[in-house]
Symmetry: C2
Amino acid sequence: MAVTLADVAARAGVSAATVSRVLSGNYPVAGGTRTRVLRAVEELEYVVNGPASALAASSSDLVGILVHDIADPFFGIIAGAVQSEMGDGDGSGGRNGRKLAVVCNTGGSPERELTYLTLLQRQRAAAVVLTGGAVEHPEHSPALASRLRRLADGGTAVVLCGRPPLPEPDAAPGAPAPVPGQRAATDEPAGGTEGGARPGGGVRPDGGIRPGGSARPEGGTRPDGGARSEGSGIVTVSFDNKGGARRLTEHLLALGHRTIGYVAGPAERTTTRDRLDGHRLALGAHSPALLEDAERLTVHGGAYDRSAGYDGALELLRRTPRVTAVIAANDTVALGICAALRDQGLRIPEDISVAGFDDLPFSADAAPALTTVRLPLHDAGVRAGRLALGRQAPPPGGVATVQAELMARASTAPPRAD
Amino acid sequence: MAVTLADVAARAGVSAATVSRVLSGNYPVAGGTRTRVLRAVEELEYVVNGPASALAASSSDLVGILVHDIADPFFGIIAGAVQSEMGDGDGSGGRNGRKLAVVCNTGGSPERELTYLTLLQRQRAAAVVLTGGAVEHPEHSPALASRLRRLADGGTAVVLCGRPPLPEPDAAPGAPAPVPGQRAATDEPAGGTEGGARPGGGVRPDGGIRPGGSARPEGGTRPDGGARSEGSGIVTVSFDNKGGARRLTEHLLALGHRTIGYVAGPAERTTTRDRLDGHRLALGAHSPALLEDAERLTVHGGAYDRSAGYDGALELLRRTPRVTAVIAANDTVALGICAALRDQGLRIPEDISVAGFDDLPFSADAAPALTTVRLPLHDAGVRAGRLALGRQAPPPGGVATVQAELMARASTAPPRAD
DNA sequence: GCCCGCATAGCAAGCGCTTTCTACGGGTCA
DNA sequence: TGACCCGTAGAAAGCGCTTGCTATGCGGGC
């Protein structure tokens, strides 16, 4: 670990400053000098000290990706896509060439989500991408929103992918503390402290002055500067869960189903709610009567996993043996449902239809191939990645919505005619 | 971002040093002072500056987990397990409480693997866990080994999970030649490597002073302290791919199959080779004649994914229409094989048996339920995580092997009697 | 009653890098 | 020919935190 900038400088016969400049490539350095430095770097196998560099530059090349369940391909696909955008897209090769995109597994726990966010904030991450539905909780949601805004204020790009945009920080603008109960601007000294503590006054390159409550992180010093522009600097790539769910249910209705079970995900997830909303929208549009039964035909699982589907299907069958179709919270749940149904001696789709959501890779291979709703997860991830890096202009209003497409396959068919 | 240690110190009416000590909890601080500091931290919503802290302490709480394909549950499960071990196991809440475990997606590319390793080295990561089979390449392997050893020398714990241990750094690969004296430490317990690697000698904070001695078992302030001991400080949790594959083939042989196709993974992965070895071992043990056919009955896919299975199965069928069973590189590939077979009008297992490997969650839900070999991925990940943090003593010889268990299910049956 | 030692807290010196600001040589424009 | 400017490189001041060493206050042993 010993080899430092100074070592390289000595070897190349230049000053540390020059080496630094060669490495970051944002300052003119004569060709010969550059070559000499590069060779010294090579010979000494010099590797920049990230922390030191981050400290001095008050920025880092860490990008955090938060996922609910890393073992779930849904998140894996998104995360992989985001990560694929982190390379040095501009081929500059400079220090800002490559970001260290890291994925953090929250396990669906709001606390861990917050913990990771703190860790990321501690590292002064360049960007944070939160994937998957948000957890709606009267206590957690405001805490999360406030932490995200604090991050954004600190210059970290925040992107939400697969969840609804943050609610407006209602009331009094100008204060970074958006949440009512949240210690109102108590510590507003922040600005003052800064000024006072620093004898050097205006030396601070970025945050130093920042007049008023301008939420916008500093302008050009740091690469991500210009791109984000919406109020909070928090952009969203949301999924059309509602529309997709609606189309799926319409498909089932069109096939003739009238008693449609629904094995939903955890009630507090926005994804769960949105999909359910879409489902009921379709039901209601078809006939109010159907809507009345909806409640009874809905079972909430504790997670988006296989066993939730298995158990949910059993419960559904117990409550309403005559269901002719079951919609799952997602494809994984659908697989569990299929298993349960088969164990009960029911054939799919002859005796009962099953539909999933997401169109994960394995869905087309299920037997029978699963009818589902395709979400362009990869594309969404790519987009989120670009947004995070400021390589793409944020969508108007800061929110982009990606569409969901019905994939009608073999697991759904008209109900038996008996 | 403005609030610094100094701000907190000012607010609490103490010095920055004291605040630092309260936060890291490795130095006696009077109760009242501690409370005051903690309150100030609370009020100012202070968040440590990671880079600064890492720079000063020359250590960080980053732990990198490298995976080939983040969208593949195989890796997701391992990574999730590793990550689950990163919490503050001792509940100390101190700075060393929580590590930022991040997963990096190499996409199976050796270059990206190296790139990530550099990035991690740059961050002075506390540990690095490499998961999944290694890529065997005359150029890449030495480069990787050398980089890993450099990491280890720099104090980063390196754990290999699911791949064979690093070969001995045998003589004379002229290159930036890794560490001459290093190997000697093999028989040397603990201290050797550690002490030698640190020119600064007594500077290391470790056991340093720690007055008061809050009887914490873990190796001192800095985690990796004494735990790793094998020569290079690189430990391995390897999978018994060979044994598992062997048992799987034996199962098929016992059922009566004699023409067994094999859709393998990319040829250069150690996982591929090991599984194939196990397969052929079983074949050879049964009858040399079978071994002769093995070559012709093996198809290599370009990846461990569904389409490799689909295409591989088709190719196999083309070459040898009379195969009665097909073994897949892993479960995902098996699914692709099943799809192809079904598309060809073959029934599983009546017409042809199919077996996978890994026993991923969806395998039990496939139709028919997939016969496969179960690898305790979660356990292995947990173990790797503990090893990485030095929370668990390294296994003798630095290598632990986890066993594979045959899961005979419905996708395999005796061959048709025609 | 004095001195020693212990428990606490502060001082200040860095950690390795970035980034002004300054220095300097040579070419250019009057 | 002299004042300037441009292109380069170096000196040095931090970035915010950790930690060895030092200072202070107090209780107890002789």
